[in-house]
Amino acid sequence: MASAKATINLKLKVWRQKDNKSQGGFKEYDAKNVSPDASFLEMLDAVNEELIKKGEEPILFDHDCREGICGSCGFMINGNAHGPQKSTTVCQLHMRVFKDGETLVLEPWRASAFPILKDLVVDRSAFDRIIKSGGYISVNTGNAQDANNIPIPKPDADEAFMSATCIGCGACVASCKNASAALFTSAKIQHMALLPQGQVERAQRALDMTAQMDAEGFGACSTTGACSAACPKDISLINIATMNRELLKATITKKEEHTGGGDG
């Protein structure tokens, strides 16, 4: 290798837990000769190869696209969700942000609604169930119609798009002292509340998604802002304001449903 860049050595304190039932604990590992250009997950890959060579269990972590767009990866590095750098997923975090000789504490997302499966992997299916409760529109779309047939004010389109960038990684829940899923749920609610396609089920969606959020055992929002600060997609707290407003409006204005046709 022609690279003149100096490699760094790190100490890792990693949460190891055999399965959901077992008691977990920290174990120390050395990450030697780490290239500053490596991503955090590539660094862990190298540590895992060493572990496999020694016949030890590799450290389990979730990952998929490694491009920062799928929402699969994520764990705590020294108490920060996805590590110290803002607007970044852990797969897009590079080792150049760390100093030689640093000790890094790696922990899984901690929330009662996200049970730990093994090591740094947690079960985030609670998010899937929140989506299933109303994070969609029930129309058969057929062929996409001409975009210009659906007028959407530019500010609404921009705001909806920003909400839609949520990748559902769970960093908001992980960084919240109450393990609240308010930022995630509200991003989905605001995304569809701002677009014409979302209007028909708008009130029901707010009622159902917030009910599911509570049913999953997530906490309440204390407005600490930790979620938005940790969010790799910079989802704003204004989404939570929208969710609260939508739920209040839906509670007041929700029409009763009638089954069957006219009975007169």
């Binding site: 922990e107 929330a111 009662s112 929002c221 204390s222 407005t223 969710m243 739920l247 209040l248």
Partner: protein, 221 residues
């Protein structure tokens, strides 16, 4: 509607509304008490005017007591659920740009001290020693004399300062949070909101603190 009140979002509305009642009260309480800096007679006459207007007094007292009970019990129920939702804590806490403010993370602790302060404050003043005085021929309570006595005690003044500084943090976080809880928050408001909340909290607490400071430092001896 019952589902709304039970939901986490609904209970944040309840926290906000009950908090707002007290935000209005502390501001007016502070403003009225500034009369202590003007004259003892004016201060006593102001107090007498309030307690003489029974419908206003009992009406305001019942709204305040109700709001306080609702605020505290809702806070307790949310705190219990939030702790359960978090389960276990991290070995290391967040730092740098991803850390949240201490004031926002310790609302429960601040609130507990403020509650203790309210109870002690009522015991000291409202239900404290009753002195009489006559202002313009009207017999009334000499609250000014009691305040003069109480604020000569350094221990009480110190406790007052500590409790009010915690109240300042509590109010600053509450005053900005209600905009999000009530659903009024807009992107363009975000920057100004913290300034607004801190201005409000500092005005209330600086006003309150000027009163014992005036009595202790300038009126003493």
């Amino acid at each position: 509607m019952f589902d709304f009140v039970k939901s986490t979002v609904g209970r944040k509305y309840i926290m906000g509304i009950s908090g707002l009642v007290w935000m209005g009260f502390v501001l007016s309480h502070m403003a009225g008490n500034m009369l202590i800096l003007v004259s003892p007679d004016l201060y006593n006459a102001y107090g007498h005017a309030i307690v003489s207007n029974k419908p206003l007094l009992y009406g305001a007292e019942s709204v305040l007591v109700l709001a306080l009970i609702v605020h505290v019990t809702t806070a307790i129920s949310l705190t219990i659920e939030n702790r359960k939702a978090k389960g276990s804590r991290y070995a290391v806490s967040a730092s740098g740009e991803k850390a949240s403010t201490l004031a926002s993370r310790t609302m429960g602790m601040q609130g507990s001290v403020v509650l203790a302060f309210i109870i002690l404050h009522l015991a000291t003043f409202k239900y404290g020693t009753h002195y009489d005085t006559v202002v313009n021929g009207v017999q009334m309570r000499d609250l000014h004399r009691l305040i003069g006595e109480v604020f000569q005690q350094p221990g009480y003044v110190l406790w007052y300062v500590v409790a009010l500084i915690l109240l300042m943090f509590h109010l600053s976080h509450g005053a900005s949070s209600i905009f999000q809880s009530f659903g009024f928050l807009e992107r363009k408001m975000q920057k100004g909101l913290r300034k607004f909340a801190w201005t409000y909290a500092i005005i209330v607490v600086a006003g309150f603190l000027s009163q014992p400071a005036y009595v202790y430092l300038l009126r003493g001896k």
